[in-house]
Every structure is written in structure tokens, then in C-alpha cells.
């Protein structure tokens, strides 16, 4: 199995980052594995981790009073999970659960924030990438809001 330092350059989220920056970020990372159905975090919990998915599938869920748990998004190999570690009050807004056996790299949120604050160039590069993920998800959510498939004939 590849080490984290070997794997990070291959992950789309880190594309374009130089080796020293990747090594710096890798210092905050550990490999993790989740069994199918294992919960990564619950809504309201302290958000102290950022995940990049190596293999498998993670479901992002919201609890709906009428429908129970509803899966509103998924992240698979090449995807990322979580940005609540980035902004106060550092609380998860959703539940996350492994839909199948899943391998990921988990970054310590406080450690990442520390690196960003001590080196603004690293912080900016990381923020650009998180912003890209947020933008993609916002666009996807807006398109799904119009219920495209609900009205076609």
C-alpha cells in the first residue's frame, strides 16, 4: 500500500501542489478504514477531521422528520468529505456513513488550520481547493433543487 506522501499527489484535490507543501500537509494525516455502515461522524459533533477518499463510498446524510435518514450526497475515490473543520463553530452539519468498505486519508483539522495560519501561501492553496469543492457541490445542489427529472415526460 502506498504511503500518504506517495498517495497525496495522485488525489485530484491536491493536484498542482508542490512536494514540500504536500509533505507539510501529510504531517497532519493518517490512513483510516471504515467498514460498511460505519459512521464517520454525526450532525452536531465536533468537526475536527477532513477526509479524502481513496477507495469506497461515503454517504452524506441528513435526518428528516418525515423521511428518516436521507442520503443527499456521496463521495467516492477522488472525492473529499467535510469542510466544517475549517470555520467556527467547527460542528458537522450532516451525518456521514460508509456505504461500503472505505479507505480514506484523515487530516486533523486543528493541525491543518495551524499550518494554514503559519504559512498563508499554503492556506491560500488549500482554501482554493476547498472553495472548488464547495462550488461544485453548490452548483450540483442548485441543479437538483429544480427537480429536473420530476417534470420531464
Amino acid at each position: 500500500m502506498q504511503t500518504i506522501e506517495e498517495y497525496l499527489p495522485e488525489h485530484p484535490f491536491f493536484a498542482g501542489l508542490d512536494q514540500p507543501t504536500l509533505e507539510l500537509l501529510a504531517g497532519c494525516a493518517t490512513n483510516v478504514h471504515f467498514d460498511a455502515n460505519e459512521v464517520l461522524f454525526h450532525e452536531g459533533d465536533q468537526a475536527d477531521t477532513f477526509y479524502i477518499v481513496r477507495k469506497g463510498l461515503i454517504a452524506i446524510q441528513v435526518q428528516s422528520p418525515s423521511a428518516g435518514g436521507v442520503v443527499v450526497d456521496t463521495a467516492e475515490a477522488g472525492g473529499v468529505v467535510g469542510w466544517s473543520w475549517l470555520v467556527p463553530p467547527y460542528r458537522w452539519m450532516f451525518d456521514a456513513r460508509a456505504s461500503e468498505p472505505t479507505s480514506a486519508v484523515a487530516f486533523d483539522g486543528a493541525c491543518l488550520r495551524g499550518k494554514c495560519e503559519s504559512d498563508p501561501a499554503v492556506g491560500y492553496a488549500l482554501m482554493q481547493r476547498v472553495a472548488r469543492v464547495m462550488l461544485d457541490r453548490l452548483e450540483a445542489a442548485r441543479l437538483r433543487l429544480i427537480d429536473m427529472y420530476g417534470s420531464s415526460s
Binding site: 446524510q61 428518516g68 456521496t74 429536473m148 420531464s152
Partner: protein, 292 residues
């Protein structure tokens, strides 16, 4: 010597004459029905006069429920097999509601087939990507079946399919068969799913970067809501697929089916005769205009 106006009148008259047969409905009997999802039904129809309908994948018919009305419905059956005419219909209004409720033995009327086809065979020797959402899988199914009849003549084949929920996924058994036995990469995503759903959730466009194909040697066939097709075409262009190799099936208010009434006009196009299948090269300037 005739004037230009006289020429136009002569063309219109010839067009109308040729359209005469196309305006005449043929009676079809409902032989079998299959409830595909909560609101979608497939009807298998046999011609009362015994003459099967030849069609190209991607074409539609005007399907008439007596006493209720007539609507354009894409053919969802296998164009390589003569026999029953198949339509997969979603209940979205009074006519489609009557068609969906038609029991075996019911007589319906059919005009057509009309319009342009997918011409999936243009992809022979290269890669083919099908991208669809919602009921859009039904008009693509004939092209998929046509390809499968000659699977060895194509390289990589992928089907990307987005549905509203897991319960809205069409042709689930066939999707599994195509993936397991027939060498098609089938990727499905839904807009949202219950806790028990173990598959993907997200937009069908998000699947496009995940599949392997040779952009310069790929034909992409896209069918679904217009906003979805536009996003897919943009993503395909982003991967380098030429606009001329991206084909979309447009939906407009088809009435006559033969380019006379103008209900389905999209600027200079009549979707019923110039479409429904058109290249993105042709459609791109039209799809971004609000007035159209």
C-alpha cells in the same frame, strides 16, 4: 419560369401531400403492460392490420388515446427486432395518464414513426457514451439495444444514468444485465436516496470525469431534461469530445409530426422533422437563448 414564392408553395404542397399518410393514424392493440416505476409504464402494442412498424432508434410516434388526445412518445423497443411496438410512458398529464392506464386489449392509434435517429452505428470502431436522466433512458434504450446487437464492433461503451430516487430507476434488471454480461460500464446516480440506499447520490454530470474514453473517437448520445443535457454537453466538450460528436434528443411540443404546424419550432428548426436527435454543434447556439 416560376417565382421563389411559387417554389415555396409547390414545396409546401408536396410536403403536405407526402405528409398525408403520416397524418393517418393506424390502430394498435395493447398486448402487454409493465409497471416500470410508480408513475411509468411500458406498453407493448401490436398493429391491428398486422404490418409491423419499422423505425430507427431515437424516433418517436404520435400516440393517441381515443377520446382524450395525442402526444409524442419516443419508441423504447428494439429496432433490430420486428414485432411489437414498445413505448415507455410517464404519467404527467391527461393523455399520458390515459395511455399509462390502458389495459391489454385497449385500442390506441399510432402515427409515425417521425424524426431523426441516434445513428449509433456512427460510433462503430470507437467509443460510445450514453448519458441520460429520468425517463430519458427510454428513448436511448433502442440505441443501446442496437449497439448490443453488434457489441463487438464498438470499443468502450458506457452508460451514465441519473434518476430522481432509487425507486425511479428504469429498466433496473436490464441495467444489471448490460453491465454484467454485455461489457457496458453502467454508472447510476440519484438525486437523493433513503438511508438504505448504498449507491451514488449526485448529478449525472459528475460521472463524466470518472469514465474512460477517447474523446476524439467517441460518439456521445445524451437524452434527458434540457438543463441536464446542456450541462453534460459542456462537460463532454471539457473532456475534448467534438461538438459534432455529441447528439442530444430535444423535446418540444410536437403536434403534426411532419413539420407543418410549427408547434415544435426552435428558431429555424422543426424538432419533429429536423430532430429530435440533433448534434450539439447545431444546438449549442440555440440552447443558450432565453427566447427560444
Amino acid at each position: 419560369m416560376t417565382s421563389l414564392a411559387e417554389h415555396d408553395h409547390a414545396d409546401a404542397a408536396a410536403h403536405a401531400l407526402a405528409a398525408g399518410d403520416a397524418m393517418l393514424p393506424r390502430p394498435y392493440r395493447v398486448v402487454r403492460t409493465r409497471q416500470d416505476t410508480r408513475d411509468t409504464v411500458t406498453l407493448q402494442l401490436e398493429p391491428v392490420d398486422g404490418v409491423p412498424l419499422k423505425f430507427s432508434a431515437g424516433q418517436f410516434t404520435m400516440l393517441h388515446a381515443f377520446g382524450v388526445g395525442e402526444v409524442p412518445i419516443s419508441i423504447s423497443g428494439d429496432p433490430t427486432k420486428e414485432g411489437l411496438l414498445e413505448h415507455t410512458i410517464r404519467n404527467v398529464g391527461s393523455v399520458s395518464g390515459a395511455l399509462v392506464a390502458a389495459a391489454p386489449g385497449t385500442i390506441l392509434a399510432v402515427r409515425g414513426p417521425f424524426g431523426t435517429g441516434w445513428d449509433v452505428s456512427d460510433g462503430m470502431g470507437g467509443d460510445v457514451v450514453f448519458i441520460t436522466g429520468g425517463i430519458g433512458l427510454a428513448p436511448l434504450r433502442p440505441a443501446i439495444l442496437e449497439l448490443l446487437a453488434n457489441r463487438e464492433k464498438y470499443n468502450r461503451v458506457a452508460l451514465l444514468y441519473g434518476a430522481r430516487t432509487p425507486d425511479d430507476i428504469l429498466f433496473g434488471d436490464e441495467l444489471r444485465k448490460w453491465a454484467d454480461l454485455l461489457g457496458i460500464v453502467v454508472e447510476v446516480t440519484v438525486d437523493s436516496g433513503p438511508h438504505s440506499w448504498r449507491g451514488r447520490v449526485g448529478l449525472v454530470t459528475q460521472l463524466i470525469p470518472r469514465i474512460a474514453f477517447d474523446p476524439a473517437n467517441t460518439v456521445a448520445l445524451v437524452c434527458g431534461p434540457e438543463v441536464m443535457m446542456r450541462a453534460c454537453a459542456t462537460a463532454l466538450r471539457g473532456r475534448g469530445v467534438p461538438a459534432a460528436s455529441i447528439r442530444l434528443s430535444m423535446e418540444r411540443n410536437m403536434k403534426c409530426g411532419v413539420g407543418l404546424c410549427g408547434h415544435c419550432q426552435l428558431r429555424e428548426l422543426f424538432i419533429c422533422v429536423d430532430g429530435p436527435v440533433l448534434t450539439y454543434e447545431r444546438l449549442a447556439p440555440l440552447m443558450s437563448r432565453w427566447e427560444l
